[in-house]
């Protein structure tokens, strides 16, 4: 539990004076993500601790280096949770990194993403200025939404030092139904069922099995189980946790791991290989070497995009190409926050 923001700010100011580049590290759980890290380590992991937590207000504020596990444990005591189920990636994931990398787990389509639940942040920009955006209240539309802008920026806009989040009560009951089915049929079923007013809270398909998780009032969950049918999955908590943290067998090995973010109802893509479908069809994992241009074209057809999530060549671009106008806007935004290009150079794109 300590506040080292002044120390962090000093290091940023020094880096600026010495034209040093900085490599922001929280728990170092996501080093595999993005392009190869460069620069001097800016360690935010010791800047940790829950600053305030008001269960009745549904708001928690913690320093960026706080491990997710610590936050989850504190919420658990009050019967609350992070509805976006962030991956802990081996236990070291921190709150700041989770927001910077926009990481959310299986519940994301229903419980929202980390970006959805963020209410405010503190950030040190490239000038070493300590800034506060958003707040600790549910609604705030004063000024631009700088807090949510960070989601996916991978630290390129500044050092997030504190995050306030909306938290939610845990559901009364959670059960998981499993049925054997093909990928195409699973995609259809996931989407059809998500269109019904039932307490669906996660939907995943892998290896011929469709997993539907139901969470909510006990009576509602039980009634839906009866209606939809299927086998109840034993120890389902472990299954969803392993999916969340990418510890299912599917994620083993060194083969490149591609992540598609698509229209949830898109037909299975015509690519041979191993697939895992999550987020009710909107997030699809694919293992295998493949021609980037072909993957991009298929993703575009399905209303989305593809990135090289883990493995493969990380010296080239791993994120999907940006349209020229969007690239320009992001470069200008980068300059607006970090004119000297101190933070995480080249981590998101070679040109940033």
């Amino acid at each position: 539990m300590s506040d080292i923001s002044q120390q962090l700010r000093e290091q940023i100011l020094q880096a600026r004076a010495g034209a040093t580049k900085l490599d922001i590290r929280g728990g170092a759980s996501k080093r595999f993500m993005g392009r190869e890290p460069q620069g001097e380590a800016l360690e935010v992991g010791r800047h940790r601790g829950i600053v305030s937590y008001e269960p009745v207000e549904l708001v928690l504020t913690a320093r960026a280096g706080t491990p997710l596990e610590e936050i989850v444990a504190a919420l658990d005591e009050q019967g609350q949770m992070l509805s976006f189920e962030p991956p802990c990636f081996g236990g070291n994931a921190t709150l700041g990194g989770t927001l910077a990398c926009n990481q959310s787990g299986p519940g994301r389509p229903w419980g929202g993403s980390v970006r959805d639940q963020v209410l405010g942040i503190r950030l040190i920009n490239g000038l070493g200025e300590e800034l506060r955006f958003g707040g600790q209240v549910m609604k705030n539309v004063a000024g631009y939404d700088v807090s949510r802008l960070q989601a996916g920026a991978m630290g390129t806009l500044g050092l997030i030092t504190e995050v306030s989040l909306k938290v939610l009560p845990k559901p009364g009951e959670t059960l998981t139904l499993v049925t054997e089915t093909s990928m195409a049929e699973a995609v259809r079923l996931m989407n059809e069922r998500a269109g019904q007013p039932k307490p669906l809270s996660a939907a995943c398909w892998h290896d011929g099995r469709l997993y539907l998780r139901l969470s909510g009032a006990r009576s509602a969950v039980d009634a839906t189980v009866r209606q939809w049918g299927g086998e109840l999955l034993e120890n389902d908590v472990a299954f969803w946790r392993e999916l969340r943290d990418q510890r299912l067998g599917f994620f083993d090995g060194d083969a490149p791991l591609w992540r598609f973010s698509l229209r949830s109802s898109a037909e299975p893509l015509p690519l041979e290989g191993d697939w895992l479908i999550d987020w009710g069809g909107a997030q699809r994992w694919y293992r295998g070497d493949a021609d980037r241009a072909r993957l991009d074209a298929l993703a575009a057809e399905a209303g989305g995009q593809v990135s090289l999530f883990r493995g493969g060549d990380r010296s080239g671009e791993v994120m999907p190409a940006q349209a020229p106008a969007l690239r320009l806007i992001q470069q200008r935004l980068k300059r607006a926050f970090d004119p000297d290009g101190l933070f995480n150079p080249g981590r998101l794109y070679s040109w940033m």
Binding site: P109, G135, V137, A153, P197, A217, R218, R263, I329
Partner: protein, 484 residues
């Protein structure tokens, strides 16, 4: 308007008429008049021109010309905004998106709709109803306001505690930049790589680009919804009861509070059976599957009784539910009947501070001889104090505005913010430096520069320039100096 401006105006109108239906390039005072303000009619300004393009190409061309000539452009949806965000610029063009009123596609399986920006919020839900779906955010103005305006303001509604604001319910937008370039932000998936530009655009008040298409998420219509109404004999007890519901693990579909003035006005207007003698009234709507609603309604009723409600009533059918909501929904017009004018504020506070803020607000109002009625999105801490005044009494509007400003400052003081859903526009520019430091405001201005270096998109709104902040601060510090 000077002669120079008159000739610019004529030339510009002439150029627009080359590619926009001449009828939709408005330049005469009489037809311009209806555009002089938005829903906050105390602020008005006549525009130089109004254009109503019908295609995105026309929007692009308007922007290209205005960019080259450095003419301000103010986007306009339905003009229901409550912060003078759509108020015209005297030397600028109002770009109305009114002709973009088509729902382009509904994808029932993927639960999304692609719509033009001028589509009315409610029209989306009406169209989606055929598939058992609806669009979540439901501002009270939903019959009239447009989805483009909703994106620009990040609008909320009665149901946003559970279903989120606009930012949580859109997947992508197509936008035209100040230079006239068409770009796609987001898509059909739940996220895209890089900085979250979609979030940045949401709530940006027309300062960063013109939204020309929106892809919204659709939600399955809940099987059932029921509402519990509870009266309380003091505000603190009611506020605590809200906390009690949440502590019990229930996130209601809607959770609204009204104070005495609002209860009485609403009851006189809607005859919904509200307890006229209550000091605070809560409306708690629970929605979901039939079983869930049954389970949660029982909990809510019991909790309210335990937590000191003086009366509890639950809707038994749709008619009764509609009736109980009718009072709340008509609260604004109802208050309009008990006072010649009212001014609607929009601060957000931590819920726990409710009683403190209401008490302090009453005290402040009393000091200046005004009354305040309160309707309140209690679930998410968003206050709507309605300051009652009479615009025909000289000086009363100024007094009202000043009280409004003080109320917003109070919200910031207790850890809240100056606007929960209505936006800053022109109206709250003065309070921005209360909530933000100069460095933070400079960062906002740098963001604006990244999109619009010449500052021609909706100038003078949303974020004050630092020079103006210094003026505001010195006035605050030394009110006598301005001789007001």
């Amino acid at each position: 308007m000077s002669n120079l401006n008159n000739s610019t105006k004529a030339q510009l109108a002439e150029r627009f008429r080359r590619f926009i239906d001449p009828e939709y390039v408005i330049s005469d005072d009489e037809t311009l008049r209806p555009y002089e303000c938005d829903g906050l009619s105390m602020y008005c300004e006549m525009p130089m021109l109004v254009v109503l393009p019908e295609t995105v190409e026309q929007v692009q061309e308007v922007l290209r010309i205005c960019h080259r000539e450095q003419v301000p452009v103010v986007a306009r949806g339905a003009g229901t905004g409550l912060c003078a965000g759509a108020m015209p610029h005297a030397e600028g063009v109002v770009l109305s998106l009114a002709k973009f009123n088509r729902i382009l596609e509904i994808d029932p399986l993927a639960r999304s709709a692609r719509v033009q920006p001028g589509v009315r919020n409610l029209a989306i839900s009406e169209e989606a109803a055929a598939f058992g779906l609806y669009y979540g955010p439901d501002p009270s103005s939903q019959i009239a306001c447009t989805i483009g305006g909703n994106v620009a303001e990040n609008s909320g509604g009665v149901h946003c505690l559970k279903y989120g604001l606009t930012v949580h319910n859109i997947l992508g937008v197509e936008m035209v930049t100040v230079e006239g370039e068409r770009v796609q932000i987001g898509g059909e998936g739940l996220d895209s790589a890089g900085m979250d530009l979609l979030a940045l655009m949401t709530g940006s008040e027309g300062l960063l680009g013109i939204v020309t298409e929106v892809r919204v998420k659709l939600l399955p219509t809940p099987e059932r919804a029921r509402v519990v109404m509870a009266g309380f004999d003091n505000v603190q007890t009611a506020g605590d009861a809200v906390g009690g519901i949440i502590a019990a693990g229930i996130i209601p579909g809607g959770l609204e509070m009204m104070d005495t003035h609002a209860i009485q006005a609403a009851e006189d207007f809607a005859r919904a059976g509200y307890p006229r003698d209550a000091r605070a009234l809560l409306l708690c709507e629970v929605d979901g599957t039939a079983e869930e609603v049954q389970e949660h309604i029982e909990t809510v009723e019991t909790l309210f009784a335990q937590l000191g409600a003086t009366s509890v009533r639950t809707s038994h059918d749709e008619a009764e539910r509609a009736l109980l909501w009718k009072g709340r929904k008509s609260a604004f017009p109802a208050v309009g009947r008990i006072s010649p004018d009212y001014y609607c504020m929009d601060g957000t506070i931590p819920r726990g501070k409710l009683a403190q803020v209401l008490t302090e607000m009453d005290r402040m109002a009393e000091r200046v001889g005004l009354r305040v009625a309160n309707v309140f999105h209690a679930g998410d801490g968003n206050l709507h104090p309605l300051i009652l005044f009479d615009a025909n009494v000289p000086g009363e509007f100024e007094k009202t505005e000043e009280l409004g400003g003080k109320i917003l400052e109070l919200c910031v003081e207790v850890g809240g913010c100056i606007t929960g859903e209505h936006g800053v526009g022109v109206e709250k520019l003065r309070q921005m430096p209360v909530q933000f430091s100069d460095q933070e405001l400079r960062q906002f201005n740098a963001i604006k520069d990244a999109f619009d270096p010449q500052g021609t998109l909706n100038p003078g709104k949303g974020v004050p320039t630092l020079r103006r902040c210094q003026e505001y601060r010195s006035i605050e510090a030394n009110p006598e100096a301005v001789g007001a």
